[in-house]
């Protein structure tokens, strides 16, 4: 628990550190907003329509492949920690796991799903 005390305290300090200058900036900086100044910046062109434009499915696919890889790599961390203790068989089991991961990658690349369009 001692380890985590430090992290909790550090997280509080780390949140306060950037918060303070922003609040100071809000306090001592001028606050003279007007309609033009607060307008959405689009290089001088007046904004029109919703901000929430239609996004491509491609964004979803990147995040999806990332999620799957993330979860699988997380499985590999305990395996890596135990690596020195494992027999050859155990290491090969991990290798089979990695190969399954590689299959997922090969599938997505072959189906051209990871191409930015």
């Amino acid at each position: 628990m001692k380890d985590w005390t430090f992290i909790v305290i550090l997280s509080i300090v780390a949140m306060a550190t950037p918060l303070a200058p922003i609040l100071i900036g809000r306090l001592i900086g001028p606050r003279k907003g007007n309609e033009l100044k607060n307008a959405t910046y689009e290089c001088g062109v007046e904004t029109r329509g919703d901000t929430w434009v239609q996004f491509k499915v491609q964004y979803y696919i990147f995040a999806l492949v990332f999620l799957v890889f993330d979860v699988e790599v997380v499985f590999l961390y305990p395996w890596a920690v135990a690596y020195n203790r494992l027999p050859l068989f155990g290491v090969l089991a991990g290798v089979v796991f990695v190969i399954t991961l590689a299959e997922a990658l090969i599938y997505t690349i072959r189906k051209d799903a990871l191409r930015w369009i």
Partner: protein
């Protein structure tokens, strides 16, 4: 000779115990002092590294850089911060105030929190948690949310587009990053950062140069600097997700970016360049902090160098580079490394997985060979791919596909 930091720590403990603090209260006070020291030193360092970067980039571009405020322009950033303090933080109409102001705070806080597990010397480490490496990965993935928050709360199409591009790129490069974070864990058999440093009697950059390179590139992309800075591609999406930020709110994002750039350099130095290790560090542990900073600044210089010289890539090139080169190479490297290492351990006596540099030499040689092999495979397949692409360009009608 005892470590300077141990001496200070012991002195503080005895002082506080003398004042009647004990148990958890003592821990809390010590942690508070420790965090204030870490954060304070990082903020001071930030002023210096921003100056350093501006100077180096200026030299690369044949300019002089900041040279007016203080000697060699050292205090330019202090002046900049003071000026930005007095500037208005414009809240664009339709923005969501709380997420809008929280985003830069989270961005900076995550970077500061990465330093909780980085050791300066053998004893000067914030806390050596048992999941050190995974802690780094987890905390840096908190940053995605701040980018999404910034992009969404600005109520600006470009900010939103920039944020989503940024997240798509950052999550892509997170994959080779966490795969290559596995390598030091694998070779050390522990996720503690200090254990990883201790185990590097031969730096991992010598036994696993390819892993170090991929780790560094992925980290470079995580900071989103040139050549990976398309999330602030001015010509396409103006300034990306921090387009609507001004005054101190912008300065905080700026601070987070520079600190992150230095943090990844320190990470690379710790995980692959032996951290605080160096000559005479066993006799004089305090020297570790000198080695740590020399290595970190060496890596940071490479970072600034790349930023100053390389042009920006297109987003499809960046994504292809990650998914079609870095990730397959990382997977291949991982598989071949464990197979070669375990097989060598089974069949050669004198193959040691720990100990002094001499004892580690056979293992490093084997791993280096594996790295060379994988690098060779990558280069050959890239060359073949390039030839196929060129032929498809030259003779489109005879192309296979």
């Amino acid at each position: 000779m005892p470590d300077l930091f141990t001496v200070i720590d012991d002195w503080l403990v005895s002082l506080l115990t003398g004042w009647g603090a004990s148990g958890l209260i003592l821990d809390i006070i010590l942690s508070l002092i420790g965090s204030l020291v870490v954060v304070g030193y990082l903020l001071t360092l930030a002023l210096f590294i921003i100056w350093f970067e501006r100077k180096v980039v200026a030299r690369i571009q044949d300019r002089i850089g900041p040279n007016r405020v203080g000697p060699w322009g050292l205090f330019q950033n202090v002046a900049d911060v003071l000026k930005l303090m007095t500037k208005e933080i414009v809240i664009p109409s339709g923005a969501d105030l709380i997420p809008f102001l929280l985003a830069p705070v989270i961005a900076t806080a995550t970077v500061l929190m990465l330093w909780a597990v980085l050791p300066f010397t053998r004893n000067a480490i914030g806390t050596d948690v048992s999941i050190g490496v995974l802690y780094l990965a987890a905390v840096s993935s908190l940053g995605f949310m701040s980018i999404l928050m910034a992009g969404w709360s600005s109520n600006n199409k470009y900010a939103l587009l920039g944020a989503f591009r940024a997240v798509a790129m950052l999550v892509s490069y997170e994959v080779p990053l966490i795969l290559m974070l596995l390598i030091p864990v694998l070779l050390t058999g522990s996720m503690r950062i200090n254990a990883i440093v201790e185990a590097q009697s031969i730096w991992y950059v010598f036994s696993m140069p390819l892993a170090a390179l991929i780790f560094y590139i992925a980290n470079h992309a995580e900071v989103a600097r040139s050549p990976f800075d398309l999330l602030e591609a001015e010509s396409e999406i103006v300034a990306g997700y921090h387009i609507e930020y001004s005054g101190m709110a912008f300065a905080t994002f700026y601070l987070a970016e520079f600190l992150h750039a230095f943090t990844i350099s320190a990470l690379t130095a710790t995980l692959f360049l032996g951290g605080w290790r160096g000559p005479f560090v066993d006799q004089v542990p305090t020297l570790g902090i000198v080695y740590f900073f020399i290595k970190s600044f060496a890596v940071y210089f490479v970072n600034v160098w790349a930023r100053g010289t390389l042009p920006r890539l297109r987003i499809d090139q960046i994504m292809d580079f990650c998914w079609k080169l870095l990730v397959p190479v990382s997977l291949l490297l991982l598989v071949l490394t464990v197979i070669a290492d375990k097989t060598a351990l089974q069949f050669f006596s004198g193959y040691s997985v720990g100990g002094t540099a001499i004892e580690m030499l056979p293992r490093s040689a084997v791993l280096f060979g594996v790295n060379l092999l994988v690098a060779g495979i990558a280069v050959v397949s890239l060359a073949q791919q390039g030839r196929r692409d060129r032929e498809a360009d030259l003779y489109p009608e005879t192309a296979v596909d």
